[in-house]
Symmetry: C2
């Protein structure tokens, strides 16, 4: 891997900085990361101090200069907003350069035009970071679920509203109060409308359903309802009846049979919805996102993770950069060369640790004599071996003795094994009845 | 897409039949599915009746004939077992043919040898179906998480044991009784050892950690403990203390710093473990699988879905076939052609349904006068509009009136809107205070 792929980065805000941080420290990541080089960066304000170590000479305040730079092979658009992002993407395509973008607003509105231009020009436009933050979801839909007839996509795909609803549920706080808190914590914008009114989720479900169902979606026709009128009372009642309330983006194929007509007839909407507590989406809390996909023959699969944030979003952007880089390297190397991401190869030695050195929390069940000093003796022996205890409770006692459950903090497996050997010898201890690790 | 990619299928059991069923009915799936053609199939018993429509002339009972067939470009190994599967895979590689396999036992034991031969020969060996059934997990690790330093992989990756533990937890039934049931239902083998003693999970975590940490794993050195000695009592106690018990496969990078030394020092093990109830893996029940990956900078991502079964496993096998086919087609078409999976293009028209025609369950909160007949009147009006009611309860009543919560079965949005318009006019109804959809 001697050739380096030149990246032009548009924007050095949260996402751009996260991407630069990954590419600047390739150690311990996929070796392909080391083949990627940021050669030009456009920023709005040249004077602003940066949280990442960048050679000042590659920075400009003219994004067009970055796109046009002959050393830039792949353009990473991390500016956001409709313009000039859209024009820069179209210019990059026209210049024969592949694009990686996190810009859901542009892709949801101009995805068809962009995809057609990209296909005609023979370049990729990859958008993993546009939906679900760091969660791999675009690529699995495009590459892993292609054998399925997708029936339904259901997503919790806006972190701000999910944070607000989670707080309203856990603490019984009113919408307005939680929104204010979320704004102070940086989880909501000062103008929160794009999030709380559901527009951001609508952009994202337009993108997901376009890929899942194979055709362009009319973004402006998606019925969209946000969470701003939701009362705490409805959350309380829903909980009583066995439901959670989440802002869902849903796309469902209503076509009678996929075989009759190749068109898809889709029910799309964004709205707060009740979810039964046993449903996999009901446990998705805080700023996390999750996308549930139902298809034939796969059944239900769910993708869960951080829906926003510099690190997760940068992870998704870099995934796309690696995909483009892998294919470029394969093509440069010619016949019989493989995509370095799809092929498997070792890039470091993996050694297995001695089991005694593995760190773990522990659950231990002891059967003991029912005498007053036993918890003290057991506690002392753990202490002697430096095993710190989270809880120790007696859960059952009867004629044959008592049962004591110990949960430890994280210690090495060796420490716990040594402790248990000594504890077993205590006269008050009849038996170590069970020992498991704990997450 | 006029060229067809020729597939040779080894085995026509559950997985092979599932694959043939997908490839035989491409309508409504990714258009690349239609470019794939099964040209030769090896079965053990030529006389056995088949659940799939196959031209008898392409069936043989000699798997070597399939691998050697010049029309076979990609070999799909769905036989299972170590031999002759391993030898057939090596022969296919030597013949310059890419392989798709679900064979976790072979890959966990001979993965290094297979990968080296494949890279030397310029072919792919893709294994999405080897871990997690239908869940896209191999490809996300290889392609989507490459920018991360993976710190830990934690998986519920054996459906049989997870089914048994779920039943033990829900019903307080003993291990031996649930195992017998699982055997009767076909969820456990008559010799259940590979599953209940953890060997299957150990195969799978060896594969996952090899990919996540970038080096071959010594499969035979993974400490492995199954669930057969687990007592119901420990499940009950764990639940009381706020935990579930699951069979976990864990791989953790213990290296102090990824930058100091390129080697990885890994704690690997398979064992029953307590999981706090608020942890994302704790809600994974029945035959479902889930894999939680922790990395820098992504944080935590989880992949959840059906861990076994004909349909899900076939979905994963076809995903791999599509990946190989996409690259083959791209290479055949030459310069400026794109991988049809990574590029985005429309392959059918998507129409958005009229919101009135969208089917949904509903939650309705009414504020009404506190009179005896009100539930009857409301129920009658819903009935008149063919809206079937799942539950109707009065949750609060005070001086200003009563609050009634109605949960309907699934009806069209139009039906519910029409009903609510009429209900609002009832003299007993003061206000329709809330209306949400339900999953």
């Amino acid at each position: 891997m001697t050739q380096k792929i030149g990246i032009g980065l548009l924007g050095l805000g949260t996402v751009g900085t996260g991407v630069a941080n990954i590419l600047n420290s390739p150690e311990g990541r996929h070796p392909l990361v080391a083949s990627i080089n940021i050669v030009r960066i456009a920023v709005r304000d040249l004077q602003r101090p940066r949280l990442v170590n960048i050679d000042q000479s590659i920075i400009t305040n003219d994004p067009y200069e970055v796109v046009k730079d002959p050393n830039v092979e792949v353009v990473v658009e991390a500016m956001g907003g409709l313009e000039p992002a859209r024009s820069l993407i179209m210019l990059a395509i026209a210049s024969g350069k592949s694009i990686v973008t996190a810009n859901k607003a542009v892709v949801a509105r101009y995805g068809k035009e962009i995809a057609e231009a990209a296909n005609a020009s023979g370049v990729y436009v990859l958008i993993e970071a546009a939906v679900g933050g760091g969660i791999p979801i675009i690529e699995p839909i495009k590459q892993s679920l292609g054998g399925n007839r997708i029936q339904k996509v259901t997503g919790i795909i806006n972190g701000t509203t999910n944070y607000i609803l989670t707080q309203m549920t856990k603490r019984g706080t009113k919408y307005q109060d939680v929104l204010k808190e979320a704004q102070e914590l940086g989880y909501a914008e000062s103008d929160p409308s794009a999030d709380v009114d559901g527009h951001d989720a609508a952009d994202k479900i337009a993108i997901l359903s376009g890929l899942a169902f194979g055709g362009a979606i009319d973004r402006e026709s998606i019925p969209t309802k946000g969470i701003s009128t939701l009362e705490s009372k409805d959350i309380i009642y829903a909980n009583k009846l066995g439901y959670e309330i989440k802002l869902l983006a849903i796309a469902e194929n209503l076509s009678e049979s996929a075989t009759k007509d190749s068109s898809a007839y889709l029910a799309l909407r964004v709205e707060p919805s009740l979810i039964p507590k046993e449903h996999p989406l009901s446990g998705v809390n805080g700023v996390n996102n999750a996308i549930l996909i139902e298809g034939d023959p796969i059944g239900q699969v769910m993708f869960y993770g951080p829906g926003a944030g510099a690190g997760p979003t940068a992870s998704a952007v870099v995934a796309d950069i690696l995909n483009v880089a892998g294919i470029k390297l394969m093509q440069q190397r010619g016949e019989k060369s493989l995509d370095p991401l799809l092929s498997a190869f070792s890039w470091r030695n993996c050694f297995l640790a001695n089991p005694r050195e593995m760190p773990q929390k522990n659950y231990v069940r002891l059967i003991t004599a029912d005498t007053p000093g036993v918890i003290g003796s057991v506690g002392n022996l753990f202490g002697k071996n430096d095993v710190s205890i989270e809880s120790i409770v007696q859960l059952d006692s009867n004629k044959t003795g008592a049962e004591i459950i110990v949960i430890t903090h994280e210690v090495s497996k060796g420490q716990i094994i040594d402790s248990l050997e000594e504890i077993e010898k205590l006269t008050e201890v009849i038996q170590i009845a069970a020992h498991f690790s704990c997450l």
